[in-house]
Amino acid sequence: MTIQTEPFIVNIGPQHPSTHGVFRMRVVLDGEKIIDADMVVGYLHRSLEKLAEERTYTQNIPFTDRMDYLSAMSNNLGYCMAVEKLAGIRVPERGQYLRVIMAELQRIANHSMAIGTFINDCGAWQTPLMWMFAEREKILDLFEMTCGARLTCNYMRIGGVAFDIPDEFLPAVNGLLDDLPRKIDEYEKMLMENEILIARARGVGTIPRDLAISASLTGPMIRGCGIPFDIRKADPYAVYDRFDFAIPVGENGDSYDRFLVRMAELRESVKILKQAVPALPGGPYKVDVPLSIRPPIGDAYARVESPKGELGYYIVSDGGTAPYRFHVRAPSYINLSVLREMVIGASVADSIVSLGSIDIVIGEVDR
């Protein structure tokens, strides 16, 4: 016997506590079950890619800060690498090492935030988020020490980094690196065996492996499915090929696996930092590059493993001081594309967990 029920439409977002900004999910519900879902993006669109065509190459660096504002360093890095590739600039050793150190610190900061908000989306009452914030604060202090800004750092420059690190940076980062493994142990003990968290996240928002590949997911999303795809290994940039680190992968591709991958990546980042900080060479941290650089006519694509996935910049130069075309392959946006497949058939509660496990930043989705 079938009893008819009326499906009804509910908008989750744009002004919703857990859509991580102004993302909108328009779902058709049958009771609590989602039978259809539409994703609406664009509420935060600032046409960064168009604006960038009117600015010089150097002036564009602060724009990249504002895309994924939780990992400004990685964004800077990708953009500078693309311009360097276009103009054929070689970055000195010290600059490369500083870039790696900053990018990995940023990864820890971003993953702390991602894990914290993910558990918040699972319904914890702020506690894990606040605990995670404590570690993130220390990293942001390091950024402030180096470049004066905490969130939108604008630290990387074409040909190196903007400033050399201050004297108190190295002791502070060493202290942090001694502290972090203990803290990560604590978090793992707290979170990984939490019965409710496992019940809420395991088997929720599962992405089949072939879907993950065909949707070109990257970052923890694809690694959660068991595919060890990481730009740092697949297409090493900066000095990543000199360090010994592993790529954590999950098994089932569900939300819990993505959470596990992020937890493990915290450890791997600490491992990289522990190798990179003692090996930091002397010498110049930047090559002299004219402020309004004019790269030769051509195009270049550079990609980095940002905390959210493959962050790629495609720049076309017409020989002028501004890029002719500027395109960003934003990992948040592409990872978000599978959300519809994840939530249909799930309940409202599960859909929020799925969304939280993607770790999107609307600034990057909408650009």
């Binding site: 016997m1 079938t2 009893i3 008819q4 029920t5 009326e6 499906p7 009804f8 439409i9 058709v28 049958d30 079950k33 039978i35 259809d36 249909i344 058939g345 799930a346």
Partner: protein, 182 residues
């Protein structure tokens, strides 16, 4: 029943219960009707207190105001919304007839029963009910459990234990409804 307090309480409750019972019929919104019904159940429970039946009062509160009220609410929200609004029905005539019969019976019984009245210091009735259930009414007590289980099995069978599929014909606001097994 004696004393100013209980008597005045009786009149207050009588007005409340009859008024809310009338409002159940008069209310335009069906949810309002349910809320008045719950109010009626609650005032009836208070009436039982005045009749020295404290256990029955609490049971009334628990079963009728709590359980039946919720059941009726769910039943209403399960009805298609277009059917929630019909004020006219072809059952007016039979309904009035049935109501008149029930009312007549109730009035007849009310005038022909020697009602016990509450004393201000009545003993708890729970113990007496319990003794009765243990001795004289042991068999009905057991049969009641079987009856309840029968009701439960009936409910499960009617709703269909294996669950309810969304009828694809019930395409509502969304043009592309996706049917998917979980």
């Amino acid at each position: 029943m004696s004393g100013v307090g209980p008597v005045s309480a009786f009149y207050v409750l009588a007005v409340l219960s009859i008024g809310s019972a009338l409002m159940v019929m008069a209310a335009r919104s069906i949810i309002h009707a349910v809320l008045f019904l719950v109010l009626f159940f609650v005032s009836l429970a208070a009436m039982f207190v005045l009749l020295s039946a404290d256990f029955v009062a609490v049971a009334q509160l628990l079963v009728y105001a709590g359980a039946i009220g919720v059941l009726v609410v769910f039943a209403i929200l399960l009805t298609p919304s277009r059917e929630q609004r019909g004020m006219e029905t072809k059952f007016v005539g039979p309904g009035l007839l049935a109501g008149a019969v029930v009312a007549g019976t109730v009035i007849f019984i009310a005038f022909n029963t020697n009602w016990p009245t509450a004393s201000n210091d009545f003993p708890s009735t729970v113990d007496a009910i319990g003794q009765a259930l243990l001795n004289r009414w042991a068999l009905p007590f057991e049969i009641a459990s079987v009856l309840l289980i029968a009701a439960m099995i009936g409910a499960i069978v009617i709703v269909g234990g294996r669950g309810v599929d969304l009828d694809p014909g019930a395409a509502g606001p969304s043009a592309r409804l996706v049917r998917r097994e979980r």
